[in-house]
């Protein structure tokens, strides 16, 4: 890349990367940049860093525009605004577009074709005016220094060609050894992500082309936890991810809870392994992600680059548990499991536990007021930490008599009850 006129920067983390980009913007005295949709700039919260420096960042992908104007977070890798319907999008456009540029036409309807046309007019003003653009890259080629952006709307081409200055943030896992090896990836990505034979636009560029496109090109090669993930023998396969989002589309958990529930830039099955791998254990939110799975394996089935997501999820669960093994205050689950292990480890202790449980069952059904479908008694509201569970669900009361007590009393069912 350097040989072809690009300036290459290395960034250990988000702060390094954002500093480079803000510096480039300041050098050119720009107060706004246009952006191509990219996961990596979300990951480093570039928009926040630019805003702190007084620079406006305009998202130019239609869905990212909807998300940005709605002061919202993306909920899907490929279609970030999938959680918004057409009426909401119309309302967002009418309310917000005039505050940041060309207003939406007053006769705006909620037809997708009309909404897309409004976005076209709104953004074209920004494309024609912008002097600096920021992009990510789908792939980077080691032997030629070529960067690749795959898209469908043409906003990518607008950002990559019209401004004078271009900065591309590239995770170091995006590097492909040779140009010829792009072949498989270019065939896999659109087929796995949208089911198309090929996406409408793919742009490739190598440094600066005199007289064509940006005449100042910067590339930020970003680590931000990728080498940490690489050091994990089981987890490193997650770095093969080409962000096609096939795993999201088949995931029964993601389908129910949506992308926001993951609380991270990378949602769904791939996010549940990528976030802990990049950040390491210790953060409660990140630590919860490997558990947000039924381990049904559908994500592995559809993954075009064969990332064994269930295997990595289990591996990460052990990491989360191991990291907490020596906590001075053990988690309630750990206490409960230890108690259960103690009770089950000895027949006398188990019999005693069964009698306590039977007595508790009698007590709870006496005070409990509800019955479950089928007639079984349910316990009332539990006190203490158990209240969080019974506040939203019925807890079946423990049976009054254990199986072993029943067996003894009826001599194995031969004596009538």
């Amino acid at each position: 890349m350097t040989a072809r006129g690009a300036v290459v920067h290395w960034a250990r983390d988000a702060a390094d990367a954002n500093r480079v980009i803000v510096d480039v913007a300041r050098t050119h005295a720009v107060d706004e940049v246009v952006k191509v949709k990219s996961m990596v700039t979300q990951e480093i919260d570039l928009n926040g860093a630019l805003a702190d420096a007084g620079i406006a960042a305009w998202e130019t992908d239609l869905a990212e525009l909807i998300v940005q104007l709605g002061d919202d977070l993306p909920s899907h890798i490929l279609v970030p605004a999938i959680h918004r319907n057409r009426a909401e999008i119309r309302e967002i456009f009418l309310r917000r577009m005039h505050e940041v540029g060309r207003p939406a036409p007053t006769e705006l309807t909620d037809e997708p074709v009309v909404l897309a046309a409004a976005a076209r007019e709104h953004l074209r003003e920004k494309f024609l005016r912008a002097r600096m653009a920021v992009s990510g890259a789908n792939f980077a080629v080691a032997d030629t220094g070529t960067l690749v952006v795959v898209e469908s709307e043409g906003n990518g081409r607008m950002c990559l060609t019209l401004p004078e200055v271009l900065v591309s943030v590239v995770g170091i896992e995006k590097v492909v050894p040779t140009f010829a090896e792009l072949d498989s990836l270019l065939r896999l990505l659109p087929r796995s992500s949208t089911g198309e034979r090929m996406n409408p636009y793919t742009s490739m560029w190598t440094g600066v082309t005199p007289g064509d496109g940006p005449q100042e090109v910067h590339v930020v090669l970003l680590d931000n936890g990728r080498t940490r993930a690489l050091a994990d023998e089981v987890g490193r396969q997650a770095l093969r991810c080409i962000r096609c989002s096939a795993c999201l589309n088949v995931c029964p958990v993601y389908e129910r809870v949506g992308g926001h529930a993951y609380g991270s830039v990378y949602p769904g099955p791939i996010g549940a392994i990528l976030n802990p791998l990049l950040k390491g254990t210790g953060d409660p939110q990140t630590d919860s992600l490997p558990y947000a799975s039924s381990l049904c394996g559908a994500c592995f089935e559809v993954c075009p680059v064969r990332i064994d997501i269930p295997e990595v999820l289990v591996h990460l669960r052990t990491q989360v548990v191991d990291a907490r093994r020596d906590d001075s205050v053990p988690k309630p689950e750990a206490v409960a499991m230890r108690a259960a292990g103690y009770a089950f480890g000895n027949a006398r202790r188990l019999r005693w536990a069964e009698r306590v449980s039977g007595l508790a069952g009698r007590a709870l059904t006496r005070f409990g007021r509800s019955r479950l479908p089928g007639g079984r008694a349910a316990a009332g509201r539990l006190p203490g930490p158990g209240a969080a569970w019974t506040g939203a669900r019925d807890l079946p009361a423990p049976p009054r008599e254990s199986f072993r007590a029943w067996w003894r009393r009826t001599k194995g069912g031969r004596v009538d009850e």
């Binding site: 960034a11 250990r12 080629v141 043409g154 034979r197 490739m204 496109g213 680590d223």
Partner: protein
């Protein structure tokens, strides 16, 4: 930032200490091999809601003229070998000037039949990247010998040192309730003039549902 570079690279080396670096390059699976590459190309391009016009070499100028709306402002790259009446040659128009242009006529580097893709490498007969992006109508002349079967056949014929633009149909989005809409920021109309022997037919897919 050179210390960041050595720091990151040494982390990579440490992380891969257990990995045997003698891995061979990944070989691509072979691509499609249709018997009639040109027909497959025409079908697949039309399937993306682009218009395909097949014609013989001496009809090219006439077919290109048919594809233009009368009275529209047309720009052509400096090296285009097709006569386009009333067109002006791009000599570094600004983005704002290009925004007032209605159509552009270019050649291409190659076409890929399996995926319905045309690839531009922005040589003199195709012009700068901006001229095929900002105007709303793009007419692209593809010669029969430029059409290859699939992506693996295309890669060795491309020069990675040049900017490359792969175009498969007009620009499109499915961001609003997954309903496909053509023409968001790029050209809304793509017309491919396929120059091939003596045929003269038109494959136009107006209202086929390609989403």
């Amino acid at each position: 930032m050179s210390d960041a570079r050595s720091e990151i690279l040494s982390r990579v080396r440490d992380a891969l200490a257990d990995v045997d670096p003698a891995a061979l390059p990944v070989e691509s699976p072979p691509g499609a091999a249709p018997t009639d590459v040109l027909t497959r190309f025409a079908e697949r391009v039309a399937d993306y809601r682009a218009e395909v016009v097949r014609c013989s070499p001496d009809e090219v100028a006439a077919r290109v003229a048919d594809s233009l709306v009368e009275g529209s402002r047309v720009v052509v790259p400096p090296g285009l070998d097709v006569d386009v009446a009333n067109a002006f040659v791009d000599e570094g128009l600004s983005a704002a000037e290009l925004d007032r242009v209605d159509a552009v006529v270019t050649a291409c580097r190659l076409g890929i039949a399996e995926t319905g893709t045309i690839v531009l490498d922005h040589e003199a007969d195709q012009g700068r990247r901006a001229i095929t992006l900002v105007p709303d109508r793009h007419i692209c002349v593809v010669r029969a010998e430029q059409v290859v079967a699939d992506v693996p056949d295309a890669m060795p014929r491309l020069d990675p040192g040049r900017p490359l633009t792969w175009i498969s149909g007009p620009s499109a989005t499915s961001d609003i309730e997954l309903e496909r809409v053509e023409g968001v920021h790029g050209p809304r109309t793509l017309i491919v003039v396929l120059v091939d022997g003596n045929q003269s037919t038109s494959t136009s897919v107006g209202d086929r549902d390609g989403s």
